[in-house]
Amino acid sequence: MSERPIVVAEGITKRFGDIVALDDVDLCIEPGMIYGLLGPNGAGKTTLIRVLTTLLRPEAGRAEVAGVDVLTDPQEARRHLGLAGQFAAVDDYLTGRENVEMVGRLYGLDAREAKRRTAEILERIGLADAADRTVRTYSGGMQRRLDLAASMVGEPQVLFLDEPTTGIDPKSRIDIWLLIQDLIARGTTILLTTQYLDEADRLADRLAVIDHGKVISEGTADELKDRLGGAVIEVSVGDDVRPQVLEALRSVCGEEPKIDPVNGSVTVAAPDGPRSLTRVVLALDEAGIVPDDIGLRKPTLDDVFLALTGHVAEEITVATEMSPGNRKRRGFAFGRSER
């Protein structure tokens, strides 16, 4: 039985007016793994999570969670899933304990069992000391952890985490990573979305890269990197000579080079590894071009992303430019800034 996938999506299509948010998406997740949905803002990650957690009905396709069809029997499916959305959906004026207990009760637990599990989970996520304080005294990271605790209290077989670390400080981010790894050790299956390539690389057993509502690549992080070949050449040059560099890379490597919109550097898969690099260097020298920097390196998920989508994960640039203190979440559109 363990071979049976625990999350299945087949041909999921969802439109919002003229916009195709999900375009014939298939997904198959084995029990006990961390599955990452990687894609830029607006790629359709959240829409897919909303379909799988019964919040949104697609126009076409079918989906299963823990063997239950989410479209025909959503109420049964809800017993087996937990959701932690992009916002910490916790009540400011309740204590941490009250928040988690409430969700436990709404999962159908009796009062005693809800209390018992709440105490255990708060201990596990390191909020036991703050359990009886109202949530408005919590930091942003604590609120996200509490939100995660609430999604776990029903002991669901599958946890859906929508950008669990967006908008929180680096220390809290690592805390949440550890929590996620702890959950996996206990046999929970996790589907998480992220815009952070390092997060996907570090946590996810398998990844689907999603862009414009389509799954454009799927596999382990290593498989995705291998598809780029064993190595990439990265060249930093000034704007004036970039066209010639592109031309040289194209003719030597036989692949279309990509320009990183953030720092302007040019990368291309190196089919013959170091020999490709040697040829590129010779070609540039012949053309009289002296690059600011040139090197051969292992591909990263950034390269995978750039190669697959033709653009970098947009929000990554935003995230690294802004300090955690002034980073804004999407909730700001509602006039709500992060505490």
Binding site: R50, T53, T54, L55, L56, Q75, E76, R78, R79, L81, G82, L83, G85, Q86, F87, A88, A89, D91, Y93, L94, E98, M102, V103, R105, L106, Y107, G108, L109, D110, T134, A150, S151, G154, G331, F334, G335, R336
Partner: protein, 270 residues
Amino acid sequence: MTTMASPLRAARDTSVIVRRNLLRNVRLPQLLVFATVQPVMFLLLFNYVFGGAIGRAIPPAAGGEYINWLIPGLLIQVAAFGAGQTALGLTEDLSKGVIDRFRSLPMARSAVLAGRTFADVIRNGAVITLMLVVGFLIGFRWQTNILGMVGGLAVAMAFSFSMSWVMALIGLTVKNPEAVQSAVFIPVFPLVFASSVFVPTETMPSWLRAFADNQPVTAMTNAIRGLVLGEGALPVGHTVAGDVLTALAWAAGILVVFVPLAVRAYRRIT
């Protein structure tokens, strides 16, 4: 996990949500205080600024005191304004993702709206009572008996509950917490001012009077006046029992129309 009979489960889930919504008022008593300040301001302003002039036009059943005439109307005004809290609370929960969390849980689907409206009617009951106390302090006295007063409060609560469902529909339709703050006043202002809350409708122009005499706020206000001041406070030809029935029919009618609409709007949230 145990499976419970569905009505029992719905009642239990509703009580969990009621508790959650009421705790907010307990933890942040300022909410209740400020919710009471506004109606008390209305009470003081109308009583002392307009009371002298309007007092001459009110029926003698009010005992010659405008405050006695005003309080039954203000109970309904508070009920109507207080119901706006339902719309605000729902939009806040929507924007914070709390509604998403609830919708992803195996809880009774009806519990979110029922829990919200029940909690709000309890909260509004507290605000109405606080205002009544202030009314007493500045001279309000019922002219019938304590049962009439209790009946009057019950009518106000029934109205508050039915209006909460109207506000639930507004909240779920408007969705944005800031926009909804203005949206809730759109139905409430004309209903409250073009009514018998502050003045008898007899002095209004005939087109306005036609509206004022046939809308729920006037029906509710008249019912409470009949209950606490007696039949003499009602327009000619009205009876206390008749006006109470009309008021309850309005409350029931509002619920029959707006509960299904609000539930449908809740189901359609995406």
